[in-house]
Symmetry: C2
Subunit: 214 residues, 2 copies
Amino acid sequence: MFIAIIMKSNDKQTKEQEILKAAEQEFLTKGYDGARTTSIAQAAGVTHAMLHYYFRTKEQLFDRIVESKFSTMSQSLIAILGDPTLPIVERLKVGIGAHFDFVAENPQLPRFVINEIVSRPERYDVLYKRVGSVVDNVYNGLQADIDRAAARGEIERVDVRMLLISIMSLNIFTFLAYPFMEPLMGELMANRERFIEARKAENIATILKRIEKR
Amino acid sequence: MFIAIIMKSNDKQTKEQEILKAAEQEFLTKGYDGARTTSIAQAAGVTHAMLHYYFRTKEQLFDRIVESKFSTMSQSLIAILGDPTLPIVERLKVGIGAHFDFVAENPQLPRFVINEIVSRPERYDVLYKRVGSVVDNVYNGLQADIDRAAARGEIERVDVRMLLISIMSLNIFTFLAYPFMEPLMGELMANRERFIEARKAENIATILKRIEKR
DNA sequence: ATTTGCATTAACAATTCTGTTAAACAATAT
DNA sequence: ATATTGTTTAACAGAATTGTTAATGCAAAT
């Protein structure tokens, strides 16, 4: 009796979650247009009618994935804030590294988000405001810190928004273009782990040198 | 008589080219899966049967666009080489700026290429080798120059491949993520021209500082 | 045991999209 | 004038894809 209940409720969750998992994979790699509901259902081990039973339409299923991915995206930006108790250079080291690690764990995310924003901007007004306020927080949280260090003559004064764009560029592009660069770079990228670590150090070095005083 | 001939041949070229132009736009923004042959035909002002008459299939039409875009991509990489007669710092300024300008004129290109490589890698083995040899050239063309300057103590010695990735990251990401960042950055990006110019200067500054000696 | 409610399936319907074809058309060469 | 060649259109065919539905199964509650 007990066992039966547990099994039932597990199965129920599993089927729906199985579909979500398969959908995430399919949408992230192929995008909305390239994804096939039948292919998602197959990957989840159910008939495609089940997909419609749980999520009604392809679009609603897609929205569930988008919602979750935008949330992850916001978190990754917050990571850049680093540890506010540390001196600015250390703080940036931590922040850039944490952001890098975050992207490393969600390497398909940036391409997905950018593609969606480009192909249907109007759809994302709501989700967007959330990200917008996160960016504001990161900006406010860092600019004052940098200004203070610059006033003390420790670093060069820079616009944090420009610095943020540079950080995101360096960290995100590494993974965005990985499949493109990998066959072009020979030994440098032969060992993925090694290359990723080297890239992380390089990005941190690049940003820190950017704010160095001459 | 003359006039008739000229008009005819003009029209002929124009129809086919009109389709190519519309196809480029459609494929670049929506990708292969999102593009519709009927929509391309409509944008070109012809029935969609014409599209099949000239290009047989959607895939063959697509291949024509891909071919041309990979070629543009290769050119943009060559631009990084800059002017080899200049001293290294000046040379890099020119190279990074030229690459930036190239991307600025083809802002949709990187997203298109990356998406294609990710979604069907096997298709691009041939085109890829071309890009690969271009990268080798750029690498060889710059590393020796940098090593010499480093030996003279003018700059810090760096791995050019890492530097190339950083340059591409900074330059390409600016346009790749533009639609994503634009609503998030307020006044900084309110004026596109202004922002683009500022970004170009920032990217050059970032790379040059990276190779500065401490 | 029967009912109730959700889960599941298979078959089908509707639409959209790519690609074809046969006929009409236009310009040129003979 | 007529034949020839390439261009264009409209109508259609086939396939793929999303979404629906009616019937069935199955566990739990009464």
